[in-house]
């Protein structure tokens, strides 16, 4: 029972994080692309697209934090302690992103807020990459909790993951903008989708090869377990959606397909990540069940959080229904 509940919460946590990566990842990706834009109208359109949803999307991160804290308190505590620096980078990034979105419209100096918006998004992505990378790279634990140095998160894996997050989010962002716009801005974003898809591929291939040859001690965990076969299948499968993303963005016939295939790709990569560590929550030797809260706590969370997840998804979909269709001209913030 306890093991079942612990693993269930591990998977719910993974699901929440995955949803966050898909929803807010796209917002952050759009944010990074604005750094390459000079045209104010184009940036306005892009911000108009994410305006109604960025805070609802951020909710999934807040909930994931609450779940980790409630279901796996020791992991939350030791993890946040060890990953102090990446988490702070993430937090400051999100603060500035949020403020830039809210303030830009009232400001005369739009350029300044564009840059803050873009850099905030970029910082948030690297914060996430370094945090997950730091966790995957292993955390030194002593008798009184975290026993490593604050810079332990800086490993080759965390750089690979950070750039992976960056390119993946940029791909989702560009494909989403292409789906929701038309004309010149849509064409631009088709090219951006292709560019980020190619960058992701190059990164993944070089990373897999070099990590294999570097033979880092923390990598033994990844290459020595039976689910290596599942992983190989998932990695090989990833080539299919990536080809489809590039192909559809190139053909420009159906504007929904590139975004659809980026989602398939991201889900595939995410599942691969979860398979890699499950049932371990802090690799290489702490299992979810070893550090889970008592059963009554996990059950209370099913009632107080678990059953709300489908409800939240349902009302978010209901709300999105009102925001269907394309954003053609750059409206003011407040007019979708």
């Amino acid at each position: 029972m306890h093991e079942f509940l612990a693993n269930l919460w591990f998977l719910i946590l993974a699901f929440e994080l995955g949803l966050y990566a898909i929803l807010d990842g796209m917002d952050l990706g759009i944010g990074v692309w604005t750094l390459f834009d000079k045209d104010e109208n184009r940036i306005s359109t892009e911000i108009t697209l994410i305006g109604p949803f960025w805070d609802a999307n951020e909710t999934w991160l807040v909930m994931a934090g609450g779940i980790l804290f409630g279901a796996f308190p020791a992991v939350y505590a030791i993890g946040a302690n060890a990953l102090y620096i990446p988490i702070m980078i993430l937090i400051f990034g999100l603060i500035f992103r949020a403020v830039a979105i809210e303030v830009r419209d009232h400001s005369k100096n739009k350029r300044l807020w564009d840059v803050i918006f873009g850099l905030g998004s970029l910082a948030a992505i690297f914060g996430q990459g370094f945090a997950i990378g730091g966790l995957f790279g292993g955390i030194k634990i002593g008798p009184h909790g975290f026993a490593g140095s604050p810079w332990d998160f800086l490993t080759p894996i965390s750089f690979v993951l950070s750039f992976g997050f960056l390119f993946g989010y940029m791909m989702m962002g560009a494909a989403y903008v292409a789906m929701k716009t038309d004309g010149q801005i849509q064409r631009k974003n088709y090219s951006r989708t292709i560019a980020s898809a190619i960058l992701s591929t190059i990164l993944t291939v070089t990373a897999l090869i070099s990590l294999h040859f570097l033979n880092l001690p923390e990598m033994k965990f990844w290459f020595s377990r039976p689910d290596e076969y599942i992983l190989t299948v998932l990695y090989l499968f990833a080539t299919f959606p990536i080809v489809m993303v590039i192909l559809n963005a190139y053909k420009k016939k159906n504007d929904k397909l590139p975004y659809f295939w980026t989602l398939v790709l991201v889900v595939d990569a995410f599942v691969a990540g979860v398979v890699e560590i499950f049932p371990y929550i802090v690799p290489p030797n702490i299992k979810a069940v070893d550090v889970a809260s008592p059963n009554e706590s996990l059950i209370a969370m099913l009632i107080g959080i678990g059953i709300f997840i489908p409800i939240i998804i349902a009302y978010n979909m209901y709300i999105k229904k009102y925001f269907r269709g394309k954003v053609s001209k750059a409206g003011k913030y407040g007019e979708y």
Partner: protein, 459 residues
């Protein structure tokens, strides 16, 4: 400086700053509900114009609130790993409940509230506005609940450094929870009406849209009739609860050293300078009413109030900070009651009529200065509550020093400085853009939502 001290300062700075925004956004969301219902019921355009005007400030407030609130959720782990790993099994649940039940609801329906005026029916929009307000208030409930549990930790059993069993009913409905929630919720309402009226008074003084703002001023005064006295009552109840469950805290708040002997009352100090070494006050000014402290803290003029000497020196928290912050908060709370009464009196005398607004400059000036009163009083109350709990992070169970993460001083110093700088910038930005919104003034011309035209055609 050690990481413990720096982490405490950082948590204090980040909480104190974050609190400003929900105070206003919870109150404003409640105001929006009232305005929208009034508009739909009476079809008087002025309510709609008001809702749109204040919602601009609400959106800005909400944005900064979200951004600064996210910090706190992670800060429990980054800076207080000792605390988090021990109580996460309960405390983390409550934060999770806040996310799933409240914050998710509020931030999702915000999309319709802000962007949906021309997309949805008036009914759907009203429901969205209500859900935003409900989500915001529910959020306050869970956060105050978690904090109240740190004050009066009932229902949770801790064995070997982690939660072993939980009685949820006892833990969620811990002794402080209900009163503390209502105290902060009414504080949100009170803060907001004084904020709104401060701005209204500013416009009236400037003779700009005076009639328009007089409307909201009167609505706020009506709300204040209930909010300001209720808050005094809730404050009194909270004080008595502190005496009952945290006697050492109460003694520190009152700078009270010697327990009053049976049959005599304890004297309330208006001003005190405590001397920790000599275990006495080196200077005091007392309230002229004998036994007032006993009366305020127990309800009887001869009630026993335990003195600081009854507690070992290591269990005594700071005195000066909670002593003065409580007194200042109470003072502001009463000033707010008197301002409400003053406004009522002026209303009955007919001084709040539009043609009379150019007179009574002092009345409007004082209401203008009252703009930050709610914020200041709430911050002072929060200082009393949190500093008063020291040296405990969980009262009677875990000392603050045991809750700390394994951090270096440089690490915390760097983020503390970054937070202070960022928050100063955010505060300045908020002031600057709110001033801009105020300079532009309310938009009284742009078309009403599309559906109003259709109903007119049909009629």
């Amino acid at each position: 400086m050690d990481p413990l001290f720096l982490s405490r300062v950082q948590f204090a700075v980040t909480t104190a700053f974050h609190m400003l925004w929900p105070l206003l956004s919870i109150g404003l969301s409640f105001m929006m509900v009232i305005l929208e219902i009034a508009w739909l019921k009476t079809r008087n355009e002025v309510y709609y114009r008001h809702e749109r005007f204040w919602s601009k400030i609400f959106i800005l407030t909400f944005g900064i609130g979200v951004a600064s609130g996210l910090v706190l959720e992670f800060e429990f782990g980054t800076n207080w790993a000792g605390f988090s790993s021990v109580v996460g099994g309960f405390f983390g649940n409550i934060l999770g409940f806040e996310g799933s039940m409240a914050f998710a609801l509020e931030s999702a329906f915000l999309a319709i509230f802000i962007f949906g005026w021309n997309k949805v029916s008036p009914r759907v929009h009203l429901v969205s506005t209500i859900l935003v307000a409900f989500g915001a208030s529910l959020s306050a409930w869970w956060i105050m609940d978690a904090n109240s549990w740190m004050q009066t930790p009932t229902g949770v059993k801790i064995v070997n450094g982690s939660v072993s069993s939980i009685n949820y009913l006892q833990a969620i409905l811990n002794p402080f929870a209900t009163i503390s929630f209502w105290h902060i919720w009414v504080a949100c309402i009170e803060t907001t009406i004084f904020f709104v009226n401060g701005i209204s008074a500013y416009y009236i003084l400037k003779k700009q849209n005076a009639e328009f703002f007089l409307k909201i001023f009167k609505i706020s005064v009506i709300i204040a009739i209930f909010a300001t006295p209720v808050q005094v009552y809730l404050g009194d109840l909270s004080g008595k609860l502190v005496g009952q469950y945290q006697p050492a805290t109460l003694a520190a708040i009152e700078s009270h050293w010697n327990t009053n002997s049976v049959g005599t009352g304890a004297t309330w100090h208006l001003i005190a300078i405590p001397d920790r070494k000599a275990e006495t006050n080196s200077f005091i000014i007392n309230a002229p009413i004998p036994g007032l402290m006993s009366f305020l803290d127990t309800g009887s003029f001869t009630g026993q109030v335990k003195g600081l000497k009854d507690f070992s020196a290591q269990d005594r928290g700071p005195i000066i900070l909670p002593f003065y912050s409580l007194r200042l908060m109470v003072l502001i709370g009463f000033i707010m009651v008197f301002m409400m009464l003053w406004a009522l009196w002026y209303w009955f005398k007919g001084n709040l009529k539009y043609e009379n607004t150019s007179r009574h400059k002092w009345f409007w000036r004082i209401w203008y200065w009252g703009l930050p009163f709610g914020f200041i009083a709430t911050e002072l109350g929060w200082i009393t509550r949190e500093v008063g709990r020291q040296p405990w992070v969980i009262y009677g169970i875990m000392r603050t020093s045991e809750g700390i993460s394994n951090l270096t001083a440089e690490q915390v110093m760097a983020t503390l400085v970054a937070f202070i700088l960022t928050y100063v910038v955010l505060f300045v930005i908020f002031i600057a853009f709110t001033r801009k919104i105020l300079k532009t003034g309310p938009d009284l011309k742009s078309p009403l939502p599309d559906w109003t035209k259709e109903t007119k055609k049909n009629a």
